[in-house]
Amino acid sequence: MGSAKNFALRLLLIAAVLVVWEVLVRLTGVPEYILPAPLRIFTAMYNGIKTNVYPEHFMVTLTETLLGFLVGTILAFILGTIVALSRKVEYFLYPFIVMFQAMPKVALAPLIIVWFGLGLTSKVINAALVAFFPLMVNTIVGLRSAEEDRINLMRSLAASRTQIFFMLQLPNALPYIFAGLEIAMIFALIGAIVAEFVGAEKGLGMLIQAMNFNMDVAGQFSILLILSLLGLCLNGIVTLARRRLLFWETVNTGEETANSSEKGGKA
């Protein structure tokens, strides 16, 4: 599939879609405030770059996303580990976990803005909250997924619980944890943007909102493009780290990542 010819075809298809979009918009005369043509979007982007509006907002959103991701995933890993290792803790936390998991976390954004203000804190908290669950669920599932025979092997060697955790359960859970991290990264970006929609002074989400009021649809599209690129890069970083750490998944074989298809959590 990944041949040079197919890659060229892929680029060609994208170009074709853009051309058809451009032609259709021109032929039908759809007003620009409904659907701008690609050329208009690129012009808007060019103007934005020239007037230097993006960098400041971009950095704000990036900071919110990364901090939210860090806070959310660290807490998720710790809590997930505790729950996975202790049936007692799980029993008592279970109702809370189920309730929070079923709730769309982004619906909390207005409250969080009220509690923590229009600044960075509220965005980080919202991003962390959204990023938290996919990783916690995957951490629990991953740590519990160690085969019984592997546990028995460790036990038969008189391994301590700590040894079983670090030598078996944790490496065994890594594919699940990385699948969780990949989702958490994108979710953190969603959390940050939604919080900016609700109330913010800076950020790409806030910028979209402002452009919406001014009916600058081409501008909004240019930010959507930036956001997709950002999401792609963030996801790429996690994927790269995964390849590095989970070297044994790709040793001399095809794409056998059965474990990685495990998904968890909802936004």
Binding site: A158, A159, Q163, P171, V251
Partner: protein, 273 residues
């Protein structure tokens, strides 16, 4: 009545009681509550002499794996006890090596890393163990593969790693739970020859569980037949075939006779499932 039975069995099974590595004494195991639970093992007694190779055959569900778990210290018996070199087995201990039905290798460890797992867990001398691991890897013909990962190996190679991993910490006994059950017939025969060689070269005491009668006869000094529901010790057969046994021994009349007698003993007890 039971007492007498088990005493008689112990006498029959234990050939050199003075150098017994394992002594199992009136062992019973009930799953669930004592009165209402399921009796999985009933009144098991036998002993294994130092350096002896014992096979246990029995139908599925006769409790052979349960017995092995008790001997490995993974499961406490309801009654009776098993002793290893004179001390009772209560919980996991470091002088036992277990080989499971599947190789149970850790995919994030290399072949060498997997072999060294028991040494890492028990914090044994690194340099010494590394050298020993390389010797064992050579013993099973895996030199050149020490830095490969398990998924790069065939099923037979993986199980060889599983076996030498159980030997690295120099355990007093090797417990093997149908280790070749998942392999194809050809590989299985090769592995039997290999295991005999490893046993002869290492001088280890081995308890080998299988449901293949010919595998049991080929490998063992004595074959213990277990019967099902509840798991009990049936007949014990001493196999007098010269060592090392080539695979062709399986075609001989003497071999066939052993297999037949054991099959009859199994069938008398309800047969193999």
């Amino acid at each position: 009545m039971n007492e007498m039975n088990s005493a008689a069995r112990t006498a029959r099974a234990g050939t050199s009681a003075d150098r017994d590595v394992i002594a199992v004494d009136r062992l019973s195991l009930t799953y669930g509550a004592k009165d209402t639970g399921v009796l999985a093992l009933s009144d098991i007694s036998f002993s294994i002499a130092n350096g002896e190779f014992i096979s246990i055959v029995g139908p599925s569900g006769c409790g052979k794996s349960t017995l092995l778990k008790i001997l490995a210290g993974l499961l406490p018996p309801t009654e009776g006890q098993a002793t290893l070199n004179g001390t009772a087995i209560r919980g996991a201990r470091r002088d036992i090596g277990v080989v499971f039905q599947t190789p149970v290798l850790f995919p994030w460890r290399t072949v060498l890393g997997n072999v060294l797992l028991p040494a890492d867990v028990q914090k044994l001398d690194k340099e010494k163990m590394r050298k020993r691991a390389m010797d064992l890897i050579r013993l099973v013909g895996l030199e050149g593969f020490e830095n490969r990962y398990p998924r790069e190996l065939s099923g037979g190679m993986q199980q060889r790693v599983g076996i030498i991993r159980a030997l690295i910490h120099d355990p007093a006994i090797l417990l093997m739970d149908e280790p070749f059950g998942a392999l194809d017939a050809m590989t299985r025969e090769t592995m039997n020859v290999e295991l005999q060689r490893i046993w002869m070269e290492s001088g280890k005491t081995i308890l080998f569980i299988t449901h293949s009668t010919s595998e049991a006869v080929y490998l063992a000094d004595r074959v213990i037949v277990m019967t099902a529901r509840p798991g009990k010790i049936g007949d014990v057969f001493k196999v007098d075939l010269p060592r090392p046994r080539p695979l062709e021994v399986m075609n001989t009349e003497a071999f066939g006779a052993y297999v037949k007698r054991i099959r009859v003993a199994l069938n008398a007890d309800g047969g193999l499932d």
